[in-house]
Amino acid sequence: MDVVDSELLPGVITTRIDDAVGWARKYSIFTYPFVTACCGMEFMSTACSHYDLDRFGAAFPRFSPRQADVLMVVGTISHKMAPVLRRIYEQMASPKWVVAFGVCTCTGGFYDNYATVQGIDKIVPVDVYIPGCPPRPEAVLKGLMLLQEKIRKQGWKGQ
């Protein structure tokens, strides 16, 4: 964010609305954890104090899609679950982002079979893919920072 100290009024800074909104949104991510499988354990470990998602302003899970900004899809998505995930995504208010957490959500992983959706990007648009089975907390934090960067650059207009 470009910040210029005002010459006219001390204690006032000037910036662009795009930068200010992007910066604010990036540090106030409310996540909707859509946890269906074993990756959920890794998500919990990342969210807890040892790795501390709260540093990124993203520690507050909202279990209502209306209140969430980021849909964290954590775990294998079966074809039977797919319409549910789609509906959750559609219920979220804009601006909204989606993180595919773990290889099953990215590509189906080793569940290359009749029951599993081969990557959730066939159902909902995905902003950040975090591969791994499960991804290590470091990878999750890296993915979260990439998402923050994306949110910041999008600025006022959202996605």
């Binding site: 074809h79 039977k80 797919a82 319409p83 995930l85 789609r86 509906r87 079979n113 009749y114 029951a115 959706v117 081969q118 066939k122 159902i123």
Partner: protein, 202 residues
């Protein structure tokens, strides 16, 4: 007190085609027509838990000494008897003494099916048979004679075919739900789902 297995064997007589296994692995292979009666009798004799109902698809039986079509050099490690028909239905029962917390007996009842026609439902004996039969229908397409309107349980309703059948193509993907709104699911082509020798397709 004699075991459920021995009592059943004595009572059913010729309807018991064979028996194998001992103790916790006891298996009685029954004539399909005798299964509903045998289940009711087994419950009366103390098998109070229906552990599982499952099915085995013996579509591709290969005699010993000949490899499979895709792997000619892969020999079966032992001679398997030629299956009398394609589907084998398995009921796993348990006699549980809940007061003692002890399993008194385990028994599996098996039967070979004519095509995909299964016996009558066991719902009236064990309520959990409802879901187990729906699973067998969903995965294998076995029809239980008194459940013509049975519903799938694991797959969604628009799914076509029965995925655990050996002739369900392993790479077959069906249309996604929620994206192709309004589009009817495509049926499997004949090439994709070959008619099975032992059973009629639903």
């Amino acid at each position: 007190m004699s075991s459920v297995r021995e009592t059943l064997r004595a009572e059913l007589g010729a309807a018991v085609l064979s028996a194998r296994g001992e103790g916790l692995d006891s298996v009685l292979v029954l004539d399909a027509g005798a299964v509903p009666g045998a289940l009711a009798r087994a419950q009366a004799l103390g098998c109070n838990v229906l552990v599982d109902i499952t099915c085995v698809d013996h579509l591709r039986w290969v005699p010993a000494g000949r490899g499979t079509p895709s792997h000619p050099d892969r020999m079966p490690r032992w001679e398997l008897p030629k299956p009398p028909s394609r589907f084998k239905l398995v009921y796993r029962l348990m006699a549980l003494d809940a007061g003692q917390g002890a399993v008194r007996e385990r028994l599996a009842l098996e039967c070979w099916l004519e095509g995909d026609a299964g016996p009558a439902s066991a719902r009236s004996l064990w309520p959990n048979a409802d879901w187990l039969e729906r699973e067998v229908w969903d995965m294998f397409g076995v029809r239980f004679s008194d459940r013509p309107d049975i519903k799938r349980i694991l797959m969604y309703e628009e799914f076509v075919g029965h995925p655990l059948r050996k002739d369900y193509p392993i790479g077959k993907r069906q249309p996604l739900l929620g994206v192709d709104d309004g589009a009817a699911p495509a049926a499997l082509s004949d090439e994709e789902l070959r008619p099975s020798p032992g059973g009629k397709r639903p």
